[in-house]
């Protein structure tokens, strides 16, 4: 049985796509920013304007328990430049560790399924940190991709970082990505940071292959991020703008939602469509059937998209609707529910 976890501005919900039943709201009134799994635990990162961030865990999707000590920089509160974790934006589980990317941008890992966390100074105290600046969505590490000792971290609006030593040290890897907001002819010297990555996906069998939905378009790297090449043929978006990217495991198909432009951030001509690439990003086209005929001006945020290895891809929208395919994007259906604005989804 598959459960779709829906994270909204006002709580979490669990949907059974078979009978379309929906749970009561979880964490009522709290924003849900990320979902994850580690060991026997399901995880939900939550946040509140009143109470700040937190993490809840469950082994049965029924009873949820808040952990005592979410990721924390542990800086002296009185020190100049003391950092604070204001939101948890992603979880990534690999063979050894559960990773978390947070705002303000930081990387943490846990060896006990999220009960306790350690700060990763190779990223959190990176030599360029003083130059890091927020994008519209804040200064956040929103994606972690791992292959053994290879660790990639995507941070907005900083760029993609790569570690080859299990997260001890990191280098920036953004060559080929245009500088956001600057005409190429005006860029005399490429800055080290300031690259507005929106979403990063890896390849399960190739640690060097990466897919990137960037503020400046859709890119692929075949050399571990050393160089990036634009791959957005067939996407209608001006500049290739969009927020999300996912890879379905059984087919290797890639998915994204092109948006009109940085300025509009709406589907082109009101046509809400997920696009799909069957050839590793070489070309893109509308993914299958089922899309609305009526104008549908909503978008899918970077955390509100998930794919499994069994043909399922789910997209939650800022309008609170949920779209699902169970045949790797050949056909899509909209679930009948409406939720608050969706920022996170997961297929469990």
């Amino acid at each position: 049985m598959t459960t779709i976890a829906i994270g909204t501005e006002k709580g979490g919900f669990l949907v059974d796509p078979a009978d379309e039943s929906v749970s009561d709201p979880l964490f009522g009134g709290w924003k849900v920013t990320a979902f994850g799994r580690s060991g026997d635990h399901h995880l939900a990162a939550v946040g509140s304007n009143w109470f700040g961030p937190g993490i809840h865990r469950s082994t049965d999707l029924d009873t949820w328990t808040a952990i005592d000590a979410p990721p924390n920089y542990g800086d002296d509160p009185e020190a100049d430049g003391a950092r604070e974790v204001t939101a948890i934006w992603t979880f990534q589980r690999d063979r050894d560790w559960l990773w978390a990317g947070v705002e303000e941008a930081g990387l943490f890992r846990s060896g006990d399924d999220g009960q306790t966390w350690e700060s990763m100074p190779g990223f959190n105290d990176h030599r360029t940190r003083g130059d890091w600046g927020p994008g519209l969505g804040g200064l956040c590490a929103h994606r972690v991709v791992t292959h053994g000792d290879r660790v990639y971290v995507a941070a907005s609006a900083v760029g993609v970082f790569r570690s080859d030593d299990g997260g001890a040290t990191f280098d920036l890897v953004n060559d080929g990505i245009p500088v956001a907001g600057m005409p190429p002819e005006e860029v005399r010297e490429r800055p080290e940071t300031g690259y507005c990555v929106h979403r990063l996906e890896g390849h399960p069998d190739d640690p060097d292959r990466l897919y990137r939905q960037d503020h400046m378009g859709v890119f692929r790297s075949d050399d571990g991020g050393v160089t990036w090449v634009r791959h957005q043929s067939g996407l209608p978006a001006e500049m290739g703008f969009g927020f999300m990217m996912a890879r379905e495991g059984s087919t290797g198909r890639l998915f994204t939602q092109p948006l009109h432009s940085d300025g509009q951030r709406l589907p082109v001509d009101g046509a809400f469509r997920i696009y799909r690439s069957d050839d590793d990003g070489e070309s893109w086209a509308v993914s299958g059937t089922g899309w609305p005929e009526a104008a549908t001006h909503t978008q899918v945020l970077r955390g509100a998209f998930d794919a499994d290895d069994d043909g399922r891809v789910v997209a939650g929208t800022t309008a609170g609707t949920v779209w699902l395919t169970e045949d790797a994007g050949d056909s899509w259906r909209q679930l009948p529910h409406t939720f608050p604005r969706i920022g996170a989804v997961a297929l469990w």
Binding site: S48, N49, W50, W64, A66, P70, P77, A82, E84
Partner: protein, 89 residues
């Protein structure tokens, strides 16, 4: 002992379900020590009252013996009440 009254919005963390539950008795003589006492009684809650920079979270109100304060050094004798400000969205 100081009586601490917590807001309903923390139910997801505390597990409380109604107003009668949302009270803890802790040792302390100022807001900071009371918050530390809350953390002993209810692990994980203090971080939702005070942020990582050591300040009362900006959208929370704190009443020390009935008087509003944002200073964690404020003395308290009988009661501390945390309230959610009329803000959010």
């Amino acid at each position: 002992m100081v009586t601490v009254r917590l807001p309903a919005g923390l139910d997801a963390v505390t597990g409380f379900t109604d107003a009668d539950d949302r009270v803890v008795e802790v040792e302390g003589d100022d807001i900071a020590s009371v918050v530390a006492g809350v953390e002993v009684a209810l692990p994980g809650v203090a971080g939702h009252l005070v942020d990582g920079r050591g300040s009362l979270r900006p959208h929370l109100l704190c009443l020390a013996d009935g008087t509003a304060t944002r200073d964690l050094d404020t003395p308290v004798a009988d009661e501390v009440r945390f309230l959610t400000a009329v803000s959010g969205g």
